[in-house]
Amino acid sequence: MSEAVLTQILYGGVGILLFLLGVWSFLIHAPLLRKLIALNVMGAGVFHLLVAVAYRGLQAPPDPVPHALVLTGIVVAVSATALALAFGRRLEREEPDDD
């Protein structure tokens, strides 16, 4: 198996691992921050996978398309996180001080 494919599988596998870890803690943890971090970890996993697919060995330049997708994905993820945090602040503002 070529060096490139091996690297791809290695990075891609890690990506899948990250994704599932993200899913796990998204499902298990209730606090908003932890869910958000979990979502971003999931995102990181997918981006990992895409970057791995883009890799074509050390000689050939990488496939630019997945890289572009990752950049777009990051911005989208940032926006979503920001909005979710703002929601959190909105709720916190009225959080009854029960604890």
């Binding site: 999931m42 995102g43 926006s79 979503a80 979710a84 959190g88 909105r90 709720l91």
Partner: protein
């Protein structure tokens, strides 16, 4: 050349941008953008109606490098419904929000959502669909919280997070598709896909993610609070269009990507979840205390009906029967779109005039707003599935096909669902017959009431008779 496909996406965006910069002119600009967008969408539909297959390669690179927008019968049908509903909601909103602070926030977000919807119907690129899904999710969640209550904020946040979970799953599916087939264009991928673990996994990820967004039982838990607590015009859009967009993608993937890959077992699974949604949703709607919660649960049920078609589609080889099934499925989706939008708009007016929407105490309000009550009634007729609504004929086709295929067990599901629906609709309508004094005139506030009434009429009377034009549009005349 002027490109209606690009316009249908760009115009609402332009409107949103203009309003962001000039919030003081929100209503005027918003209404202008709504009219322009609807015009562009209808233009697209006319092209399809004329037998064309409009397609535009954005950037002029062509697939696989570039992104393409395209419209076929299926896209055109939903595009038309979405934009007609969108226009009606916009007109309604000018009156509903007035010039409140909420209106300044409503208009740009609503137009961004509209952008996403049109994009979702027209885009032919898997990753572009991802961006559109995110645009839809974010703007929808923000809109849902506009009613300002804590419940609304909580429900919308949950909706946002669940949506993100779906998007991430979808994105993983896209990554897998690109890995396996080296392209993102729907048609190219569909051509490259062959039955096998990779195809199944990709299909499962993409469709599974969309099931979460289309709130198919048991992934519906986020929907009722989110739709019930949003401001009525927003609820209308969420229930009638946003969920539909997800279902539309499921259907498209099922028919195009997974053609020959989706197994009958998968179809049966979707059907069973649909059946559970029909029964559970209708039951909860029957038990609901509040009008908008009732409507929200009814949406859960109505989505279920749409998925009852999948096992039949999976078991029906391509041909006139299959075409008729697809037509009926689309007919059902469109009818529900109009009906639910009208129902929510009307419910919002009841809520405004009484200050609450507790079904028990509706009497007076319903009585004093005849047009609104009629809107609720006609929309209700379509939700139950009584003639001459489109739902009736769609259910006819569904059951006839189920019996022919020997899958008779769907019959009791549909009938029980129908009777439960009759129960929850007439629970509301019965309140309209009280000994209150007679209202003096039929319509009290045209700007808010007429859109609701027209949508309801469209659902209860129009869509039934529109079945034949729909077959022309879908090219399923048989």
């Amino acid at each position: 050349m002027i490109d209606p496909l690009a316009l249908a996406v760009a115009l609402p965006l332009l409107g949103a941008l203009a309003i962001t910069m000039l919030p003081s002119a929100a209503r005027t600009l918003g209404l202008l953008a709504a009219l322009a967008t609807t015009a562009a969408a209808l233009w697209v539909t006319l092209l399809v109606w004329g037998g064309g297959a409009p397609r535009s390669e954005l950037g002029g690179w062509g697939t696989p490098l570039g992104i393409a927008l395209r419209a076929d019968g299926l896209a055109a049908a939903l595009l038309t419904m979405a934009n007609v509903v969108g226009l009606a909601v916009s007109v309604h909103a000018t009156g509903y929000f007035g010039a409140t602070a909420a209106s300044r926030h409503f208009w740009p977000l609503w137009l961004l959502l509209w952008t996403a919807l049109n994009g979702l119907f027209l885009a032919a690129d898997l990753f572009h669909l991802y961006v559109m899904l995110e645009l839809m999710g974010l703007s929808a969640a923000a809109l849902g919280a506009l009613s300002g209550t804590r419940e609304a904020a909580q429900a919308s946040l949950r909706y946002l997070l669940v949506g993100l979970l779906g998007s991430m799953t979808y994105l993983l599916g896209v990554a897998l598709v690109y890995t396996a087939y080296g392209s993102l264009d729907l048609a190219l991928v569909a051509g490259a896909m062959t039955p096998g673990p990779v195809a199944w996994a990709a299909g499962a990820l993409l469709i599974g993610a969309l099931l979460l967004k289309s709130a198919l039982f048991p992934m519906h838990f986020w929907l009722p609070p989110a739709h019930a607590n949003a401001p009525a015009p927003v609820s209308a859009v969420l229930s009638a269009l946003v969920v539909k967009a997800a279902v539309y993608l499921v259907l498209r993937f099922w028919l195009e990507l997974c053609d020959g890959i989706a197994t009958e077992a998968a179809g049966l699974l979707l059907g069973m979840l649909g059946a559970a949604a029909v029964l559970w949703g209708s039951w909860r709607a029957l038990r609901a205390e509040r009008l908008k919660l009732l409507a929200a649960y009814s949406t859960v049920a109505q989505i279920g009906y749409l998925f009852l078609f999948f096992p039949l589609l999976a078991a029906t080889p391509a041909g006139p029967e299959r075409d008729q099934l697809i037509t009926a499925l689309v007919l059902l989706a469109l009818t529900h779109g109009f009906a639910k939008a009208g129902f929510f708009l009307a419910a919002g007016l009841v809520q405004k005039s009484t200050g609450h929407d507790r079904i028990r105490e509706l009497g007076g309000a319903a009585q004093s707003l005849p047009a609104v009550t009629f809107a609720l009634g006609l929309a209700g007729v379509a939700l139950i599935g009584l003639p001459p609504s489109g739902t009736f004929f769609a259910k006819w086709v569904l059951l006839a096909r189920a019996i022919t295929l020997g899958q008779w067990w769907w019959v009791p599901v549909v009938m029980v669902g129908t009777l439960l629906a009759a129960g929850y609709v007439f629970r509301v309508l019965a309140r309209a017959f009280t000994r209150e004094p007679t209202p003096r005139c039929f319509v009290t506030d045209a700007r808010t009431e007429v859109p609701a009434l027209l949508l309801a009429i469209l659902a209860a009377l129009g869509m039934g008779l529109a079945a034949h034009p729909l077959t022309v549009l879908l090219g399923t005349g048989g």
